[in-house]
């Protein structure tokens, strides 16, 4: 019974994580693109006319609006598949999380709860299998909508996904050779050591070419610019999701981001050490838990105070400029940050001997590692956004040429060289 | 036979059902693509049998055999669909009854 409860808890954590990051990512996409293009971006939606959080309320407002929008189904569609497609996309995007380890383990006495949802022997092959299914949502939507543009989007994404799956598989196979295991958690554990004594033994240092191949294929698999041929606004209006509106469209939209978060999680797990904190393995973290906690609390207090001061300055500067309640926002946020700073300082005082005990140290290490995973995932999620607003879309023949004529030979080369090196080094 | 625990017979029965459905698809449909898919279905049902026996005997050889069947199925699908595309280019149909050049 307890095991089921723990499994449900882990699934819940993952869902909360995905949906929170999803909201942040949609905000980051809009705000980030705005900043990249020298605009300000969304900043109008507010809670109670005060809290705007620089536009972070917008995704929430969008979802609410889409929830209450009329659910229009065009007349000529294949209703069953049309309705199913967004769910397929969303489910497949979420299911991949099952094998992703987001932390080492929780140690409760002599009980060990590994922080991943499913203990699958096939591990990384599961990722490949589910990724290979992810094309169906788009094809289903494209075909069932009974529209030329959606159909073309579906066809394009089929060919694209088949092509880039192979490259992804080759990159992953090379990784299998390096780590000698199909389990993602074993791979992450492997990456905790040091290479040549100073470099974390991350996949990206062992497999630099493989990383570039994997990253490129992941961009293609998630239908993200520069490979978002399935959408191709300039040619296909919006590709496979033209005929969708309201919450069904929102599902497609969110699934795109969810799959990006999964991809970011896998990039960080396979090539950047997952939950491992570079140079600090679990044992070191536990031994110096008190010190780390104290330092992080001090840093937190200082930064919170800094933010509070900046916000107070801004409040003083902007007071009377807008003439309504919105100008209270810096004040409110400043107070929040000030309280946070006080909390940090209070915690420093309370925990001043900084002796957490064995159990506490283990929990502290786990929390730090989960945070490390989250930070890495957030960074790679941001990378998706950054690349999207930098690179133009590929032409279709360029996409195919890149996939088959350049990445496939390079992937094979990488694979064979890795195999030879592993064989010789053994 | 229908007791609580599932045994080899259950899997064999299921596999037979799937195989027969596949056979029916090949016999009654004239759409070459659906016929192809029925053949894939039959291959899968055979895989199910192999795996069930493999599990029954506690041996891994069946798994290897299934992998070979996968490879053969992939090869068959590739060549078969290529031929189909070529036929469609020439005849503009996938109806197998129209492909009777050798009979005439």
């Amino acid at each position: 019974m307890a095991e089921i409860a723990w499994a449900l808890g882990k699934i819940l954590f993952m869902l909360v994580f995905v949906f929170t990051v999803l909201v942040v990512m949609i905000w980051g996409e809009r705000k980030g693109s705005a900043f990249i293009q020298d605009r300000i971006g969304p900043n109008r939606a507010s809670i109670g006319g005060v809290i705007r959080l620089g536009g972070l309320v917008h995704p929430v407002a969008d979802v609410l609006k889409l929830l209450f929008k009329e659910d229009l189904v065009p007349g000529a569609v294949n209703r069953f598949f049309y309705t199913m497609a967004p769910f397929v996309v969303m489910v497949i995007a979420l299911v991949t999380f099952a094998v992703l380890p987001f932390g080492d383990a929780i140690y409760l006495g002599d009980k060990v709860i590994p922080l991943r949802i499913a203990d699958l022997d096939v591990g990384i092959l599961y990722l490949l299998a589910i990724t290979s299914l992810s094309v169906y949502g788009i094809v289903l939507a494209g075909w069932a909508s009974n529209n030329k543009y959606t159909f073309l989007g579906g066809i394009r994404s089929t060919a694209q996904m088949i092509s880039y799956e192979i490259n992804m598989g080759l990159a992953v196979l090379a990784l299998l050779l390096v780590y000698g295991s199909t389990r993602v958690d074993a791979m992450v554990v492997e990456q905790g050591q040091l290479l040549f004594g100073f470099l974390p033994r991350w996949g990206v240092f062992l497999q630099p070419l493989g990383f570039v191949l994997f990253l490129t294929s992941v961009f293609a698999e998630t239908n993200r610019t520069p490979f978002d041929l399935a959408e191709g606004e300039s040619e296909l209006v919006s590709g496979y999701n033209i005929e969708y509106s309201s919450m069904k469209f929102a599902l497609f939209f969110m699934a795109e981001y969810a799959s990006m978060i999964v991809a970011a999680g896998f990039i960080s797990s396979l090539y950047f050490g997952g939950w491992q904190v570079p140079w600090l393995d679990t044992i070191t973290l536990r031994e110096h838990a008190g010190t780390f906690l104290g330092v992080s609390l001090w840093v937190g207090a200082v930064f919170n105070l800094l933010f509070a001061a900046l916000l107070w300055k801004r409040y003083r500067r902007e007071r009377g400029l807008l003439g309504d309640r919105r100008e209270l926002e810096p004040l409110v946020l400043g107070i929040v940050f000030f309280i946070l700073a006080l909390v940090c300082l209070g915690a420093v005082v309370i925990a001043s001997p900084w002796n957490l005990g064995e159990q506490g140290a283990a929990h502290f290490a786990t929390v730090v590692q989960v945070l490390s995973f989250i930070l890495k995932t957030l960074f790679f999620s941001w990378l998706f956004i950054w690349v999207r607003w930098t690179l133009p879309r590929f032409r279709y023949d360029q996409l195919m040429k890149l996939g088959w004529q350049l990445m496939l030979p390079l992937g094979l080369l990488n694979f064979f060289v890795t195999a030879a090196v592993v064989l010789l080094a053994r | 036979m229908f007791d609580a625990s599932v045994g080899l017979n259950h899997y064999l029965l299921l596999s037979v059902l799937l195989f027969v459905i596949g056979v029916a698809g090949v016999i009654f449909r004239r759409n070459a693509i659906i016929m192809f898919m029925s053949i894939e279905l039959m291959l899968t049902s055979v895989n199910l049998t192999i795996l069930a026996y493999s599990r029954y005997l506690g041996d891994h050889t069946g798994h290897v055999l299934v992998l070979f069947v996968f490879a053969v199925a992939a090869a068959e699908a590739a060549v078969g669909l290529a031929i189909l595309v070529e036929l469609f280019r020439k005849r503009d149909t996938v109806d197998v009854d129209r492909f009777r050049q050798l009979m005439e």
Binding site: G32, F35, I36, Q37, D38, R39, I40, L321, L322, G323, W386, V387, W389, T390, L391, L402, L406 | -
Partner: protein
């Protein structure tokens, strides 16, 4: 960094679109592009106040005195309209949006005054011809109001009373 489209990269599309070596990977250009966008992003994050964007409903652009905005009718010192209903403006109006019904005025020095004076703001093209044509400077387009919105077509047809009291502080129709 000035980004030239006429550099060596531009030539890759030529000669049968054959790409060579490192160009095929686009890697160098990708990193250059990422650098450019990252620079813009960071600049804007840390200097948000310097962004050229105008927060429109809160801040309004200053168009200067030559802006032709919503019309107003001038008054005499006693509060009656300065307009003498000569029909010059409605005659010259290219979109035919002004309609005036004249009536006789009792005062000895004034011959006529408008009984009704309506402008259809939806038809008006804001050309300013009426202002030019008016012989006694009765109509002006200097209110500075350029956001003209209402929830029905009827509300866009403004009358004498409205135009007389249509001051520069932005009363909505």
């Amino acid at each position: 960094m000035p980004y030239s489209i006429h550099g060596p990269q531009a030539a890759t599309g030529g000669k049968g679109s054959r790409m060579r070596g490192a160009e095929l990977w686009y890697l160098k250009e990708i990193f250059r592009g990422m650098y450019v966008t990252a620079r813009h992003f960071l600049t804007n994050v840390f200097h948000m106040a310097d962004m050229p964007t105008l927060q429109y409903p809160d801040e309004k652009p200053n168009y200067g005195p030559w802006l032709r905005s919503r019309h107003r009718l001038m008054k005499r010192e006693d509060g009656t309209p300065r307009c003498v209903a000569c029909q010059m403006c409605s005659t010259v109006c290219p979109s035919d949006c002004i309609s005036i019904v004249a009536m006789e005025d009792d005062r000895p020095d004034v011959e006529k005054r408008p009984e009704t004076f309506t402008i259809d703001l939806l038809r008006c093209v804001y050309c300013g011809m009426c202002v030019e044509a008016c012989p006694c400077d009765a109509i002006r387009m200097d209110t500075g109001i350029f956001e003209i919105a209402a929830d029905s077509r009827e509300k866009f047809v403004v009358d004498l009373d409205f135009l007389l009291n249509n001051t520069t502080d932005g009363v909505k129709p």
